[in-house]
Symmetry: C2
Amino acid sequence: MAHTPSANQSAPDATRRSERSRRAIYDAALALVVEVGYPRTTIEGIAARAGVGKQTIYRWWGSKADVLLEAFLELGEQAARAAGHLSYAIPDTGDLAADLKQVLRATVDELRDPAFEAPSRALAAEGVVNEELGRRFVAQLLEPPLQLYVDRLRAAQQAGDVRADVDPRIALELFVSPLAQRWLQYTGPITYEYTDTLVDYALYGLAPR
Amino acid sequence: MAHTPSANQSAPDATRRSERSRRAIYDAALALVVEVGYPRTTIEGIAARAGVGKQTIYRWWGSKADVLLEAFLELGEQAARAAGHLSYAIPDTGDLAADLKQVLRATVDELRDPAFEAPSRALAAEGVVNEELGRRFVAQLLEPPLQLYVDRLRAAQQAGDVRADVDPRIALELFVSPLAQRWLQYTGPITYEYTDTLVDYALYGLAPR
């Protein structure tokens, strides 16, 4: 996950100082990308707002994209903690539908968290028109949690709850992507009832049984 | 769909002139939104690039959002014609899976059309951070074709090919949204094989039968 520059410091005071700087830099980067957009967010602007020197930022990160992606990883972890669950874990109670519904309900909570929403939208919007950033965004922020669905679906295949010929990486899109599109494009309301319905439709299909 | 200002003109010459102006305005609007982004695209800029007076634009449209949304409707229709099919029609051959696969394959062609891609991305990106534009974008550009899926799924319910208790407006998201997310966020390749697989998974479900 996010690297912790403070780990390289020896004295506790220096550790506390650099931890404070790191958080100030993350906060400044997230605030700026909301206020002026990604293209006009600069390392200089982040440094000024965070009250640190430009060199402090360059010592720890290579670019504004690196700062923002790490700020997002940290933000996602905070949102997950605020929503009362650990990120990067999908339960396996043996009831696949229930497990998926629980995780998607937690995602609904995160998507509705105002601290998460504005910077996430700013970065997602830039990713739509900036393929290089979009692909980094996906590889670092989106794909790791999606792989946990792959793992859970593979376990369900072992248990006989999902057909063996199903590709888990595509299968997860049947319930994850509709929620993502509603959030990205305002194509419909985001509720627990909605995500529960997606799971039921995806698992049991639209055709009669 | 797109209103045709030329229809209000009486003389054939005036009709041809205003049709030329209308197309020049659409082209200028689409080019500008790609080059400088939505926030910095202005009516003045569109008028200058199209070689028309500002008043010509204000006579036909109320805002730059109106110009762009109509330019997109026109572009979508051109892309549909170029892909060799009429837009706004989903076949009903009685084979639901085949019909859905055919329409989604045509959508794959449209999404890959370079003339369509850059301006579509620019408008979609703005919609992510600009809720008012996002909602207009959805209501005018996205929802009308989605309603055709609703109609086709309702016909399938009548024919007994889709469960009667399924909500068609949610059901269509199982195959439409994954394609949309892959396009918007570069989360995976967009191929006919992929969209065919989405239709099969959505109709028959992931759980064993």
